[in-house]
Symmetry: C2
Subunit: 690 residues, 2 copies
């Protein structure tokens, strides 16, 4: 989800104040509501407990979460987080997505193409230093640049001092800056994955719903120097899982929320961004379905992207429904009004912050046209084919790399080159026919929606969209990792002299995109930052730090308890059992999406059908948290978080404590499945510490 929303989020760097409810909150590790937890559950996490939980948590930079669950670098995440890597390891002959995978020894573990995992080693508030770069006589865009330069400098210093990946992150919509220092791992190997139909039982229908019966798990192992690492911090396994009403935590990386949006931004989401994005996703799905209809291998190639899109459209559909809900909109507006009235009541605050909400509404309104143009341009440049993205990276690398580090564009600083290389030289397969189908389709879509402009003409070069796409794709070698390796080893000048059609296109596009970016920084981003920082300061003035920042794929801890809820006229139970999996399969006569792998029928007699399968808890999560462990107060794994229920989708904007639930795979089902369905006793022993 994170990647998909990059452009949309440009207009969203602002702040409001949510009503904090019991158990709401994706808390940073430095600012937990420990008093509330203790009062409600009689448990107070210590510094040691928190350090251990943090160091056992893993970020999947593909867009998910995970955790160490053995001393030998074993990492657990969701199948739906891992599936993009599993797909890259698969071939028509060895389709691990369909058939699952199990390594019986280290030797059999499969190295991922381009998976990076991060562990948060430490973090530090550097707000004062970042702010000190801004001088009073600077314009908003000059301040923006000053901050960016300072951030680049800090990241470089930090990297040199610690050897870690050091990211400066912005919390509370500009209210705070922190440096987050990550241990980075890039040799990640696949250990075990079930068949997709075990992981994703119920398919897109059951996605974001509950009751549910999914084995949404995958195991990887982290290597360094070609050996499994010794993971000092890891979560032990709970013997029986959690009881109803038991306190549980989720430690993971929620991707993005918009709870601190101003109401003007919410309305912009409802009326502009959201319908536009839903429209795009629909079109993308249609395009890939047409392509998939070409044959079994085409269907295999498009499967994971289609899966991702179906997920997106359902998630966004739920968010969009939330935005249409008058009660939700009114609640948000009331909360904003309450904050504003507190600010207006204090003359000093009013002078400093009072106009920020109106100013943000004006910035959004004044830039609707640019924003629309930017949206459609972004589609053909960044989403139609990854080949152009790679070519743009090569071109920018070539232009930037010989400049002094601090003068380069963001993304091309010394500290960032290693990551760039890792991504550009990924051996993951790229299928030319699929890239061509997407490029042709998106060109048509953008022309229909937004007409032909100079950028579209750069793609078309006088041809029809189909012919233009064919010409570009047929003649490129950008899909070939060996060609990209050759390019990487060339001198910058030589890269720019490549006759690859995508390199040539990227060279033409780059100045136009740079001009867009300059326009954006000078006319939108600088001003937005000013105003959003005002609101952040206003919020701190009124509420102090009793609030949590919007999610931004940094590590968060959420607390809650195992609990069912009222659903569609009845109760959803706190857990499901294996009986229910067979019920649901047979209720649909094992129709597609409701047909578990054959082993579920062959080995049914071995199973204890009373085994809990999935469970729900009141933890506050969102996309990006997928793969997070659910742990008890002893920091033992009691579940594997893989979804939010449908009622949680408006949680992007507003948390509803009555019905918002986190859905996780029960720890007992993981062991039951590994031992009795997958004959993976060795892995189960490692997990259970036997």
């Amino acid at each position: 989800m994170k990647r998909f929303f990059t452009i949309v989020l440009l207009l969203s760097l602002t702040a409001a104040i949510p009503g904090i409810h019991a158990e709401e909150g994706m808390w940073t590790y430095d600012n937990l509501p420990i008093k509330d937890i203790k009062e409600k559950y009689g448990f107070e996490p210590t510094k040691e407990w928190l350090d251990h939980a943090r160091l056992s948590s893993v970020r999947f930079n593909d867009g998910g979460s995970g955790s160490f669950i053995s001393p030998n670098g074993l990492v657990m995440t969701n199948h739906h987080v891992a599936v993009f890597q599993i797909q890259k390891l698969s071939t028509p002959e060895n389709n691990y997505v369909d058939k699952g995978f199990l390594a019986n020894s280290y030797d059999e573990e499969l190295k991922c193409a381009d998976l990076e995992l991060n562990v948060l080693m430490s973090m530090e508030n550097i707000t004062d230093r970042v702010r000190s770069a801004e001088k009073d006589d600077m314009s908003p865009s000059e301040k923006l640049k000053a901050v960016k330069d300072e951030v680049a400098k800090i990241q470089k210093e930090e990297k040199e001092a610690t050897g870690l990946r050091c990211d400066v992150v912005n919390l509370y919509q500009g209210g705070e800056y922190w440096v987050y220092r990550y241990k980075k791992y890039t040799d990640i190997r696949l250990v075990m994955a079930p068949e997709r139909m075990a992981a994703y039982f119920g398919g897109d229908y059951d996605n974001f719903t509950y009751p549910r019966w999914d084995l949404d798990m995958t195991f990887f192992r982290v290597y360094e120097d070609d050996k499994p690492i010794k993971s000092e911090n890891y979560f032990k396994w709970s013997k029986n899982g959690a009881k109803e009403n038991e306190l549980v935590f989720v430690t993971g990386h929620p991707g993005s929320t918009s709870r601190l949006y101003t109401h003007a931004e919410l309305l912009n989401d409802r009326d502009e961004s959201m319908p536009r994005n839903l429209d795009l996703i629909d079109y993308f799905i249609k395009t890939l379905k047409d392509y998939s209809a070409g044959g079994e291998e085409q269907a295999r190639r498009a499967l994971t992207t289609l899966f991702y899109l179906a997920n997106s459209t359902k998630a966004r559909g739920g968010m969009y429904e939330g935005l249409q809900d008058e009660a939700i909109m009114k609640k948000h507006l009331d909360e904003e009004k309450a904050l504003i009235s507190k600010i207006k009541a204090n003359p000093e605050w009013n002078k400093l912050y009072g106009n920020a909400w109106d100013n943000i509404a004006k910035i959004i309104n004044d830039n609707k046209e640019f924003s629309l143009k930017h949206f459609y341009r972004g589609i053909i440049v960044y989403r139609a084919t990854s080949l152009l993205g790679k070519a743009l990276s090569f071109v920018r690398y070539a232009k930037e790399i010989e400049k002094p580090d601090m003068e380069r564009r963001n993304g091309y600083h010394d500290t960032q080159i290693e990551g760039l290389k890792f991504s550009l030289l990924s051996p993951a397969p790229i299928f030319k026919d699929l890239e061509e189908a997407k490029l042709a389709a998106f060109l048509k879509f953008v022309i229909e929606k937004s007409g032909k402009d100079n950028v579209v003409e750069m793609f078309l070069q006088g041809k029809s969209p189909d012919k233009a796409a064919h010409a570009l794709i047929a003649n490129t070698k950008m899909n070939d990792v060996n060609y990209r390796k050759e390019l990487w080893d060339l001198d910058p000048d030589e890269i720019l002299e490549s006759d690859d059609p995508f390199i040539k296109l990227a060279i033409k596009l780059d100045p136009v995109l740079e001009a867009d970016k300059d326009y954006y920084d000078n006319n939108i981003a600088g001003q937005l930052k000013e105003e959003s920082v005002k609101i952040a300061k206003a919020r701190f003035a009124v509420y102090g730090k009793s609030i949590y920042p919007d999610a931004n794929f940094t590590l968060r801890l959420s607390y809650g308890s195992i609990k069912g809820y009222k659903m569609n006229g009845t109760l959803a139970p706190y857990k499901t059992t294996l009986y229910g999996l067979y019920d649901r399969a047979l209720s649909f006569d094992k129709a597609e999406d409701f047909n578990p792998p054959q082993r579920y029928w062959d080995k049914q007699n071995k199973l204890d059908l009373a085994t809990p399968v999935n469970q729900v808890s009141t933890n506050d999560i969102i996309g990006g948290n997928s793969g997070s462990p659910l742990i008890n107060k002893n920091a033992e794994v009691v579940g594997l978080v893989f979804d939010g229920n449908i009622e949680s989708l408006p949680g992007r904007y507003i948390y509803d404590m009555e019905a918002n639930r986190t859905v996780s795979v029960h720890s007992s089902y993981i062991i039951e499945a590994l031992r009795k369905l997958y004959d993976a006793n060795k892995l189960a022993d490692e997990i259970q510490g036997k």
Copy 2:
């Protein structure tokens, strides 16, 4: 539900026009949309098919439906229809509600206290004759009286001519009058009932929801002359039940819908009747829960009424939500506007019918105060204790019986005396402590809501509500069936001289209630009838007979097909299986309401867990249809209707074809349970014709 709404319905004798959707419709047997059925499903029910289905259908006058399913008078209905009779047969020592019941031979079958079953032998349109009683120079209330007298006359003639129970029924809100001729049975014996927790698994939580796993069945046998009848018409049993998408019919007795309401009536329901009734039911539930808390036996005595009330509050809650739904209200208003604009476009029609909608709105508005008073008065007179209702019947019987038949009040004509006696002399137990608790509570409720008036004072006689209730109940013998038998055998004068406190109260109340009735007839009912007949005629003028009349507990046929639906973000399957029952039980750790009888655990190994348990179909039903058979085109039983899903509740006012579903027990589950859980092979053999 039917009984509870008697008073509310007084203001509802009017007409509008619904939008007819595919598969919508509770059709009378004389006016089926045979062409639509044939076009959609390729099946055309013949006259023989319809006669057979009609004569195999049974009305449970307690408020439900049923059917003959063997040649020996075996009748199937729901447990929740039968439970009031089962309760009457139970004692603290033999609690058949909790423990179930099975007769292994005719000898062991238990005769019900006061159950009357009806079979519709024939029906005839007598609109012209009824209308001919109205003369042009009569006032609306004179016309109303003329019609009532004519109806009484017809019923008398019909009874004498046929020996059957002959009811004149009003269809299309006064648009048509029919005589419905019923064969009446009053010797009904209990054959088999499962435990309440098998029938009602999931309890009030799962009531009106789906997926579901209920064995909501009970079997009775019809006797005449102390022998099982030979039921010539009965439904055979389907071997495997119906397939997904297969055509299925429901033949049964839907109690009451309001789809032909004018919009003014709908608004009156939303703003007046519905909140008032929900308030009353809540209070009633609270009263009975307090009483139940007194001990195990108290809980047993109140159980079925509490069950009935919980059902009502959930059903009405769903209807009330429908009334709050702007889309539903708009649809209703749009349909009314469409009909009115067609009427207005034709000068003749406009002159005849054009003002009816406004007139009805005015009648409702002018009589709000009377209606409110009437509502609260009705509570203490008819709902607080059945002892007063019995006393009122005795008093009225004594006053009317010596008048010439045609001069008596409705309810006391010669043709009605047999039914009156059957009801008054029922041996069903009545518990004084329960009656006293109810009476005291309702007196308080009505005083709080509506103050003390002359009627309330007749109850109180200067005492507090508690003391007044105690005085009445302590001194009455009306609870004793032997005393009622004595009363029945007295001369009318002697009855009126009884010193039973309820007889004395009834004597004082009767003239006041009669005056209310006269006021109602003269000032409301006559005018409402005039206007509603206008709308009925308007509707026939525009739409002909392509429409069906609102439900009124007459026999109807609904067609549809077995089909799942979209639910809460995913799909509800067309059926459930026994696996799911165990899942749901264990998902709640066998908590109350989710704990099936012990035999489900003891005999689990015998069961085929893939057996379908419940299923959903698109048939259009409502309360009163409970116990109807679901039959296929061969008129074989494929299910036993017991519920509508939660999405169907606004169906009282508007049918929603996407999500409205009928929920039935699958025919295969009934056999599986009888044979393997209840060791009732003899009964299963009879049902399956073995």
